[in-house]
């Protein structure tokens, strides 16, 4: 008997397995995202879903992960999958045999060999065994969270690692055969100066990464850091200093031969993160593991962010936050994401996104006039000097 079509809106408020099935079954994603929700310690700025002190749960995690991957494998068209990304949390906190099982489960899904397989790692977790496990598991790219090389600034973030372990981790990964290394930095940490930031840039550049992500610190609501700010115990640094740090980053990385390809991302030519480009070019990606977010066939969803419930289940994870943006909203998102990319949006594509939206068209004109948007090689993009005000511009274009 054919099952009646499921109304998605029905599942907006609660976790739903039926919605998961409806979204995942028969989908043909371009990418896979897997989430490993374990950390050694919770950093004070972090709003990712991750839990500490879960050593007894890592094995059940691997068991359950395999079940989910298995179910997915049987229900999707895996022919288009080109990239995979394992994020967290701290995936490299898994013991090597368990990490190996997770990587294998992921690799078993796509039909073709992946063009890019990235795993996030925290420097202090990269042992030789972990590096070897990554390589053996088919991983060719590691994104390493450095954040800062200065103990007092790491302390301000309650981020627990010794900066000296970063070069060691990079060396171990390279020795094991990881070809592509990306490093993450955070600027605008309370108490930091332009000189501090220059030293951090010196330190990452010395490690010769292929890719860099530099984020302005965000006081995410609900994090201990935001709470401290609310109580007046820390202050955000002056935004003109933060803006100067950003300009500095752009100048120095350009001089070092990096291409600025997204608001917070720089790469050596050809070294952009293909997986993230799937997000930014509104490709389809599939989520595995608790709290992982996916986007399939125009529907966004998130796996239920509750480790216990997820562990108790089999098959697909129930999903929450199911969202099917309307055509107008979806085209607004494409503008938002397209303009966050430094290459911007092709004129023909842009026409498709603004025609029939008088308000959007007027906003584009207005920002062109003010010099916030510019045409460059027949593509519309945010002017260099206005990147730090991107949200001000993008909010007008939705």
């Amino acid at each position: 008997m054919p099952t009646p079509p499921i109304q998605l809106s029905q599942y907006d408020d609660g976790p739903s397995l039926a919605a998961a099935t409806r979204i995942v079954d028969g989908s043909s994603p371009d990418a896979l995202y897997a989430h490993v929700p374990f950390c050694r310690h919770k950093c004070h700025y972090c709003d990712f879903y991750s839990l500490v002190d879960q050593r007894d749960r890592t094995e059940p995690f691997a068991d359950r992960f395999e079940l989910e991957a298995e179910t997915i494998r049987g229900s999707i068209d895996a022919s288009k999958i080109r990239t995979a990304f394992v994020g967290g949390g701290t995936p490299t906190l898994l013991e090597p045999p368990l990490l190996a099982r997770v990587l294998a489960a992921i690799r078993a899904i796509p039909e073709e060999t992946l063009d890019e397989f990235t795993v996030e790692a925290n420097p202090e977790t990269v042992s030789e065994a972990i590096a070897a496990t990554l390589v053996a598991g088919g991983v060719d790219r590691v994104s390493l969270g450095c954040q800062s090389f200065q103990p007092d600034l790491l302390k301000a973030l309650e981020r627990w690692h010794d900066p000296s372990c970063v070069p060691i981790a990079v060396q171990r990964l390279r020795d094991a055969g990881i070809g592509r290394i990306s490093l993450d930095l955070i600027f605008g940490i309370p108490g930091s100066t332009i000189d501090d930031w220059d030293r951090d840039l010196d330190a990452v550049l010395a490690l010769e990464p292929d890719h860099l992500s530099c984020y302005g610190l965000v006081f995410e609501p609900g994090t201990p850091l935001a709470e401290k700010q609310r109580l007046g115990r820390v202050d955000a640094i002056d935004d003109s200093i933060e803006s100067a740090m950003y300009d500095r980053t752009r100048d120095r990385l350009a001089a070092e031969g990096f291409e600025h390809y997204e608001i917070s991302n720089w790469a050596r030519p050809g070294e952009e993160c293909l997986h993230n480009l799937v997000y930014w070019q509104e490709g389809d990606w599939l989520a595995i593991g608790p709290a992982a977010a996916g986007n399939l066939g125009g529907i966004r969803y998130r796996n239920l962010p509750r480790l216990d419930d997820w562990l108790d289940g089999t098959g697909l994870s129930p999903v929450v936050n199911v969202d099917q943006p309307s055509a107008v909203v979806a085209s607004g998102e494409r503008l938002m994401l397209g303009l966050r990319l430094r290459r911007g949006i092709d004129r023909a594509v842009l026409d498709g996104l603004v025609t029939g939206h008088a308000e959007r068209q007027a906003a584009v004109e207005r920002h062109l006039q003010r010099g916030n948007l510019v045409w460059h090689e027949n593509r519309l993009r945010i002017a260099d000097r206005s990147i730090m005000l991107a949200d001000d511009i993008l909010s007008d274009l939705l």
Binding site: Y33, Y215, G216, L217, V218, D239, S240, E242, S243, I263, S264, N276, Y279, W280, W285, A291, A292, A293, G294, N295, R300, R302, N321, D323, P325, V329, G332, E333, M336, L337, R340, R370, N372, S386, I387, M388, L389, A390, D391, D392, L394, S395, D396, L398
Partner: protein
């Protein structure tokens, strides 16, 4: 049968309404058990606040020395804003009961209302109330009455409106001391309108006191002032329950219904006569109450434009409905750049303004944004003409203005002697000029000052109350308009003058007020991509300045797969926020910024 027409007057809360109830009980008009407390306070708001807002007239019968007396009495409000209600009631009477709380003594409205009665040649019976209370000092208070008002202390009657003690003596005094109504001046109908209210079923109900002749159901009447004619459909009196009558005779008090649709068709103080047998002269009327305090009401902003328009319509309905019941406030449609459509309303005073706002919200079910109160100014122009304005934005170009005059009030404060110094400092700081000082008793004094009305409408009364820890009272009376060194302060945002933010104030206070306004604005306006100067100027000359620094950062650092929906929603919120702002001089100004400035200061 003899008739006694009298009002009950007092300072607020001294027990007029309770005493009126007690008189109803004592004359058996109301059964002790069925009578609600404060029988004569009928409006919900009156009962809840425990204060009387409108007068009510009642008729009861009383036997005294074998004769039946018809007692027509009017309970009046005690608050300073409602002096006009009291003065109307007094014109319909030959006597008044002056109630003074034996624990509070003579207060500001005791004096003000007693003077009103004396001016109207009324016979006064001083009544010292609340003698059941342990703190009562009836002898001291009757001395105060003698001292301040010149009414012999031994004439005062001691009562408790609560227990009924002293009430028989009071009834006797009413019959014995109050004069008979003056003999008729002629036989043609002359009935004075002293109050009116609106009734959903019958339309306007008019209260009249018949001075000459009589009026009957079916009579065709003419209002001598407005010239309008109506046919009487119902006559009666409240006992306190409505009792229909065929006729109201000479010197009687009662109500009249005559298919009058709106309160605007009736002028209190007008004389009613018969259309086909008119009196030659109307009764000397009394002057119309004048609105002295003004403010704007806007519907609190709806979420979208559509919501806003319908909110305005609800507000309009509520205002029009309320006006049927209270013709003493004025209203006209007002459009503010910042707040959209609303109403500019005029009130008799501050309490009146509060009451209207409360009734609009409660009875009309609309949430209201209220701007800071202002007064009306008279502007003398160079060409010899004059202009009355309440809105700084309406002030003509200053090159055409010869002088600006503002309303001046005489205030009388009664307070404990130890607060005199602080109160004088307060009045001095409000451009007050000292007029005199008198003793009420050894512990209390009357302080007379003259000062601009604009200086007392903000927080003067609150300050007075806090300085005297609640013991001080005040009364004020407009004495006229005087030329003052008044200036229009313009507020400029990014170089553009913003009409809705301009104020009129005394030159001496202009800088301080301007600074306060600019500081508020600075907090309310978001930073923009450019630096925004905020300036206050008098005739183009900058007197205060603030700067909103340029925004250097508004960017989302991370926007990966799981962030997209949330980030988009954040941007949508930013967009909605911008939409609700007013764009002036390429600066987006949120409604809250206008509100912060326009709202009551302090």
């Amino acid at each position: 049968m003899k008739v006694r027409n009298f009002s009950i007057i007092a300072h607020i809360d001294h027990g007029k309404s309770t005493l009126a109830d007690r008189l109803l009980h004592a004359t058996s008009a109301v059964d002790e058990r069925t009578g609600r407390a404060q029988m004569l306070d009928s409006m919900d708001l009156e009962r809840e606040r425990g204060i009387t807002i409108k007068s009510s007239a009642v008729t009861v019968m009383h036997e005294y020395r074998g004769e039946t007396y018809e007692l027509n009495f009017i309970d009046t409000p005690g608050h300073v804003d409602f002096t006009y209600e009291v003065s109307r009631a007094l014109t319909a009477c030959e006597g008044a009961i002056l109630v003074v709380d034996s624990t509070q003594g003579v207060q500001a409205q005791t004096v003000a209302n007693a003077y009103l009665a004396i001016e109207n040649n009324l016979e006064l019976i001083p009544v010292i109330n609340k003698i059941d209370l342990p703190a009562a000092d009836p002898d001291g208070v009757s001395m105060e009455i003698e001292h301040v008002l010149g009414l012999p202390a031994e004439d005062a009657i001691y009562v408790s409106a609560k227990t009924g003690q002293g009430i028989p003596e009071l009834l006797d005094a009413i019959c014995e001391k109050l004069p008979d109504p003056a003999p008729s001046m002629g036989d043609k109908l002359r009935a004075l309108i002293f109050d009116s209210h609106y009734d959903d079923y019958r339309g306007v109900v008019v209260f009249v006191r018949v001075f000459d002749g009589s009026i009957s159901v079916g009579d065709k009447i003419r209002m001598m002032g407005t010239g309008r004619t109506f046919t009487v459909t119902e006559l009666g009196r409240y006992t306190p329950f409505a009792q229909k009558l065929k006729t109201l005779g000479q010197s009687e008090v009662g109500y009249m219904v005559a298919a009058i649709k709106t309160l605007g068709d009736v002028r209190v103080g007008d004389t009613v006569t018969l259309e086909y047998d008119p009196a030659p002269e109307p009764m000397p009327g009394y002057k119309e109450p004048k609105q002295m305090v003004f403010c704007d009401f806007y519907p609190s902003s709806g979420d979208d434009e559509g919501g806003k328009r319908s909110d305005f319509e609800s507000l309009r309905e509520a205002v029009e409905r309320l006006h049927l019941n209270d013709a003493s406030f004025t209203f006209e449609v007002q459009h503010s750049e910042a707040l959209g459509f609303g109403f500019r309303c005029g009130f008799l005073g501050l309490l009146h303004m509060d009451i209207v706002q409360e009734r609009l919200e409660r009875e009309g079910g609309v949430a209201i944004v209220q701007t800071a109160p202002t007064v009306s100014y008279i502007v003398d122009l160079n060409d010899g003409s004059t202009l009355e304005i309440q809105n700084p934005a309406d002030l003509p170009d200053m090159s055409r203005v010869k002088a600006i005059r503002e309303p001046i009030v005489k205030i009388e404060i009664i307070c404990p002697v130890e607060n005199i110094g602080d109160l004088m400092r307060l009045a001095d700081s409000r451009r007050g000029s000292f007029r005199g000082q008198r003793f009420v008793s050894e512990t209390r004094q009357i302080l007379d000052y003259q000062l601009p009305l604009a200086e007392i409408i903000y927080d003067f009364y609150d300050k007075l109350k806090s300085i005297t820890r609640g013991y001080g009272t005040m009364d004020y009376e407009i004495t006229g308009y005087e030329v003052e060194n008044l200036v229009k302060v313009e507020i400029l945002i990014n170089g553009e003058p913003v009409d809705a933010l301009s104020i009129i104030c005394h030159r001496s206070g202009a800088e301080g007020r301007s600074r306060a306004i600019l500081a508020k604005l600075r907090k309310q306006i978001d930073r923009h991509q450019f630096e925004i100067p905020l300036q206050a100027a008098i005739g183009g000359k900058i007197i205060a300045r603030e700067t909103i620094k340029a925004l250097r950062k508004n960017v989302t650092a991370k926007c990966y797969g799981g962030d997209i929906t949330r980030k988009r929603k954040l941007l949508e919120k930013q967009k909605e926020g911008k939409k609700r702002m007013k764009n002036i001089g390429s600066v987006n100004i949120p409604q809250e910024a206008f509100m912060a400035v326009l709202e009551q200061e302090g």
